[in-house]
Symmetry: C2
Subunit: 149 residues, 2 copies
């Protein structure tokens, strides 16, 4: 089996192209793909900084770096939770909310183009296979954790 025939090769290549495209579009607005993802993941009620990482599947060191940069750019601010003083929530500033709309439009544009050009039946199968691959990966992980125990 050649590398280009493997499932992971395809997924990795497409993901690399998507991040290049998102980073290039974000760069036009002085941002990065990671900043866009954070903007899209912060709720109106403020999102606990500790739950952003797992939610986005992002390493905590690179998330901290991104949050620091976003604070400096005036996109977010941090505030202690009113009931739990140990918990810090991230909120969007007005500029952050504006940039959130922009990020949302970039994501929607790309998804709209894909939905327009690829028939629904094929996309349905595509999503089904993705979910199936994910479940295979999850069960392998479980198996590994069990055999290690």
């Amino acid at each position: 089996m050649h590398a280009k025939d493997t499932i992971d090769f395809h997924i990795r290549a497409v993901w690399a192209s998507i991040s290049r495209m998102y980073n290039s579009q974000a760069n036009d607005h002085n941002g990065t793909m990671s900043i866009g993802y954070v903007l899209l993941n912060v709720d109106k009620e403020g999102t606990p900084s500790t739950s952003l990482g797992p939610q986005m599947g992002m390493e905590s060191t690179s998330l901290s770096r991104t949050l620091k940069r976003m604070e400096e750019q005036g996109l977010i601010y941090r505030e202690k939770d009113v009931t739990d003083g140990r918990m810090v929530r991230i909120f969007l500033t007005d500029l952050g909310k504006e940039m959130r709309k922009l990020s949302r439009n970039i994501v929607l544009d790309f998804n709209k183009t894909v939905h327009e050009r690829i028939p629904k039946e094929k996309l349905d199968v595509f999503f089904e296979v993705m979910v199936h691959i994910q479940s295979i990966l999850n069960s392998q992980k479980l198996f590994k954790e069990k055999s290690a125990a």
Copy 2:
């Protein structure tokens, strides 16, 4: 549209799970997924160090770091090209060749499991959609480069 319904969310999540799985398996042998990918991309005739990055879609700084670690672990060695003295080729040591087999088996195992559990007709559609998405991304890039010129 919720983030979990987007195409990029699915691709990113599945790719994150695949890298976690590969990294966890590589870790059992004192390696990383990136080391595994380099092992699989070095030819018998030696691969020019400059062509590895583009071939693997890897940034040059993180590739240099990986190659340095692999040299220290005795997996690869570098040699000047016999005809072009400015070109450096990467070769696998005997240990590198052994670890290459191991990497290959890990990749094949995962791909075999997927092929066993997901019907061929669905995987065919999946690959077709991936190639189509890739071509949409390439044409958007071209369009952007044109409009920027």
